[in-house]
Symmetry: C2
Subunit: 225 residues, 2 copies
DNA sequence: TATCATTTTTAGATGAGTCTAAATTCTATT
DNA sequence: AATAGAATTTAGACTCATCTAAAAATGATA
């Protein structure tokens, strides 16, 4: 077993790696809210444990072993989020914080029981894929809502779960995973985006639209307004 | 918020205090599996934080503040144990270990939700009372099964939950909380105890019988064998 | 290509919790 | 009352994860 701190570092490295190829000391420092010097010293430790490879000044990369642990913790995290939402009615903007702690003390037995009770789910409440026990994960390729054009229809695939305010904000518009919506208009220069979800219209700032990931619904790329 | 370690010390002090009036350094050392010297240094810290009072060489006692936290953690622990047993089917000999970790990271909100889902229970799976939110607890006065005499009938009130082997052992005989049984015979000199539970007979060592707490059922103190 | 701002690492310190070994205090028994 | 044995505390060290301040390496740009 690894410490909570090590597990959080590995998880953070995985998440940054998914988007940026280069996982820098600074990016970890920001994501984990620790000083860059602290990251360096933890990197040294992870490297000694063969959980990451590290070229000085060049960032880190997970080893196979590191990725395995990382996905194990992410599985815990997302199963817990879903369990809290489904079984105990915890709102989707609060599940992350709870899971962030619980994920480190969940036994394999309980993990299996929750998985079974939930019917072996594949997505967490924010639409993120749940890695399987053996460390497989189906990352989906979706695009930010902000990249859509006027007239396009799309389905929400995933919403970033790190900011509860954001979740409440987009939740109020009904932008949950699997929600279908249509872009009515997009103002230029990162202006507001008007959308129609489930019959009602909403306006959404481009900031938020960066963090809502969608897949386009084909055969609907026509007319604007 | 206090550290996991502090919470575990407070809990241990509460539990020892319940039985022994004097909470010694050594008793804590044994219960928590740490060296006596470690206990002393932690006692110093707890004392500075006004969570315990301490006379050198004379043991510790919880302050009001210390007891409040202690009961808060015990509430977490027991609610979690019951939740795991009821909602997820975790066997009663495994819930303790899981709760020992989870208790420290449970939010008040989730505590309330679990409490509600369980219907505001008053006993954990081992029969121990669950403290209320405001720190009230109904300690029951029961006696060890080992103290019964031949012919007496009694009801299981509580079983010590610290040894999974013990729980499996007495569980096999049906000695769960609320189970009614009759003592058929007790061999002298801490000999084995023959009991009848739910129609079937079992023999139980006096060691185990020390850890099963019962309340006598009146009007049945007659004839032996 | 030399310079400089940015990034990363090193150096050294801190706090929490633990340990072992040694000193101290208590207490039960002579 | 003296003393031996047990319990407790002190002293000093260690690991883990963090910090700040200073040094070193990188790489963009003038
Ligand atoms: Mn975490
Ligand atoms: Mn999530
Ligand atoms: Mn605990
Ligand atoms: Mn219990």
């Amino acid at each position: 077993m690894y410490t909570e701190s090590i597990e959080d570092y590995l998880k953070a490295i995985y998440e940054i790696q998914k988007e940026h190829a280069k996982v820098s000391t600074n990016s970890l420092s920001e994501k984990l809210n620790v000083a860059p010097a602290s990251v360096t010293s933890m990197i040294k430790k992870l490297s000694e444990k063969k959980l990451v490879t590290h070229k000085r000044y060049q960032g880190v990369k997970l080893t196979k072993a590191g990725q395995k642990i990382s996905l194990e913790i992410i599985r815990h995290h997302r199963l817990i989020e879903l369990y809290l939402a489904e079984a105990l009615g915890v709102p989707w903007d609060q599940v992350h914080e709870e899971a962030e702690k619980w994920e480190h003390v969940l036994s394999e037995d309980l993990e299996d029981r929750m998985d079974a009770v939930l019917g072996y789910p594949t997505r967490d409440p924010h639409g993120a894929p749940i890695p399987s026990r053996d460390g497989t994960i189906a990352e989906l390729d979706s695009i930010p809502l902000a990249d859509l054009r006027s007239g396009q229809s799309a389905v929400v695939a995933e919403v970033s779960d790190h900011d509860p305010d954001l979740l409440r904000y987009v939740g109020k518009m009904g932008l949950y995973p699997k929600a279908k919506f249509k872009v009515l208009s997009i103002e230029p220069f990162n202006g507001p985006i008007k959308i129609k979800v489930d019959g009602s219209e909403h306006v959404l700032g481009s900031g938020a639209a960066q963090y809502v990931f969608v897949t386009e619904v084909k055969g609907s790329t026509t007319g604007a307004t």
